[in-house]
Amino acid sequence: MTTTLKHTRYIISQNGITFGAFSLFFGFVLIAVLGNAIAPYDPLASNSAIALQPPTALHWFGTDQLGRDVLSRVIVATRLDLGIAVLAVAMSFVIGSILGTCAGYFGGWTDRIVSRCIDTLMAFPLFVLAMGLVAALGNSIENIIYATAIINLPLYTRVIRSEVLVRREAGFVEAARLTGNGDWRIMARHLFPNVLPVMMVHLSLNMGWAILNAAGLSFIGLGVQPPTAEWGIMVAEGATYIVSGEWWLALFPGAVLMLAVFCFNLLGDGLRDLIDPRMRT
């Protein structure tokens, strides 16, 4: 454990970018947790007297078409956007781990059925499938989460399946089997923990993608409904005003969204260095 910590410290001290990504990540988590408490104004309070004002000392990010404070809305939206992504990624991680481990370990028909289902999901362009799922299941935030979880499922299942497959006949698995461990115990206690480090990299990279995906869905009018503050919907509302020069409506939520995704992608790259220096590209 101490060597891992040392290694972590080494990586962070060697790589300023990863350190920056870690700090940014904690910043986002803090904003998501505090949310309403640190927003300077009520994110839903409209005031037509100050509508469409460019950034000022009072309203750092300006005000939108209803006179709502853009900064407060961006801050409050953090919890919703990150929440959707975390729940979706957690769901696909858990289900994908179970399916992938079983498919890789048991092989045969289990593998064939799981792989065939995953291939079918992969036959769709993923964002299109998410859109179809939300349209069919009903337009709500829960269904955005389910749809995002389903389109992420192939990634986890496939990676875990292949990782388990190469370890299935490994010495430590044989040893565990010979000492009388059952299949489920071997999978849960011996195989899965060995696959976990690799999965953390995918988890981080995937978080960024899940955020993009959820914001994209709400940009086209699915899931989150106005007047709820959410990055994608704020960009969509600001889009009308871009051509007349009111840039701050779309720019700030869009830039924060981009920063969040960028942060998770950098974090993923950093974790990759941490776990396997050979995978560095």
């Binding site: 036959a123 769709f124 362009p125 964002f127 299109v128 869009g254």
Partner: protein
């Protein structure tokens, strides 16, 4: 080791795509049947009586069992019957076919832009490791996949249209001064050249420029990343060392040997890139009011008009299956080893 003829390989790949098509049709069917609420009541409209709804239920075959409904659905698909759009009043098939060229033109232009930029960048980065261009490409590869396409599109509109005024207003495939060329291929760029109207060609190209760049930027990152990594791997391999030691000119080593082999992972990545492109296409079409099938589906979504959405999803999925098949075939063409089976 036996060597199979190219025709045989192609046939086998095409057969291999059939399970995907079946899977796609089943999933689309299931999506059709899990519409929120009662589909019959939905198709009947808000003012319908109970008898009218019941009649529609029988017309749609919704009173039958699921397998029966599936067979009916398959029959409809073979007849090209995808239902009628409530918003346009046309059949969904007609709407999709008239709008598909716009989407394809946009996607292909974006892909050409992305490849034209990603390959040289990747090669430059790989041949000069740890130079500024290498770092630039690595930054681009991480930043590029973090870009929300809808946001980059708006940002580019603001800078290039509102501030600098160097691109036309982001309102579709042609400005109102021009009328579209006669439908030959449906691609405005090609059609305008076929009738020899250069002015129209430039007008269409000017409209296409910004959406294609927006979409292309998204595809650029993974392609540049894979090109760089795969070229790096190739350049340090034994056969390149041998080629160099044999005194072959550097150009030939780089492009004749390393590049051709390095293309294989890039071609594989194209599959993922297409998945991204077709999805991001919807967002870009909405931002630029591009009259393709993506904005058609978004409009239908807003109006809760479900038949077009289902038609759209099926079209996109089939398109993706075909593209993947083409990528497979391209792989066979490029890789001299792909025809050999152990």
């Amino acid at each position: 080791m036996a060597r199979y003829s190219t025709g045989k390989i192609v046939g086998r790949r095409i057969l291999g795509a059939i399970p995907s098509v079946i899977g796609v049709v089943i999933v689309t069917f299931l999506l059709t049947r899990s519409l929120p609420g009662d589909p019959a009541a939905f198709f009947a409209g808000p003012a319908a009586t109970a008898e009218a709804i019941e009649e529609i239920r029988q017309n749609l075959g919704l009173d039958k069992s699921l397998p029966e409904q599936f067979l009916i659905y398959i029959g409809e698909l073979f007849r090209g019957d995808l239902g009628v759009s409530l918003t346009t009043g046309q059949t969904v098939l007609y709407d999709l076919l008239t709008r598909l060229p716009a989407s394809l033109e946009l996607t292909l232009a974006a892909l050409v832009f992305a490849i034209a930029l990603a390959l040289p960048l990747g090669i430059l980065a790989a041949t000069r490791p740890n130079s500024w261009i290498d770092h630039g490409v690595r930054l681009l590869a991480t930043a590029g996949v973090s870009l929300p396409t809808f946001f980059t599109g708006l940002f580019l509109i603001y800078v290039l249209y509102y501030l600098w005024g160097i691109v036309p207003a982001p309102l579709g495939r042609l400005d109102i001064l021009n009328s579209p060329p006669p439908q030959i291929t449906g691609f405005y760029l090609i059609d305008s050249l076929l009738i020899g109207d250069l002015g129209l060609f430039w007008a269409a190209a000017a409209q296409l420029f910004l959406p294609a760049v927006t979409l292309g930027l998204f595809a650029l990152a993974p392609l540049a990343r894979v090109t760089r990594a795969s070229m790096l791997g190739m350049l340090s391999s034994d056969f390149i060392r041998t080629a160099r030691a044999s005194g072959l000119p550097p150009r030939q080593v780089l492009f004749g040997y390393a590049f051709r082999n390095a293309m294989l992972p890039v071609v594989t990545t194209l599959g993922v890139v297409f998945s991204f492109l077709l999805g991001a296409n919807i967002l870009v079409e909405k931002v630029f009011a591009w009259p393709g099938i993506g904005s058609y589906a978004v409009e239908a979504l807003v109006a809760s008009d479900y038949a077009p959405i289902q038609g759209f999803i099926l079209t996109m999925a089939l398109l993706y299956v075909v593209l993947n098949l083409l990528i497979d075939l391209l792989y066979v063409v490029i890789d001299p080893r792909a025809g050999v089976e152990s």
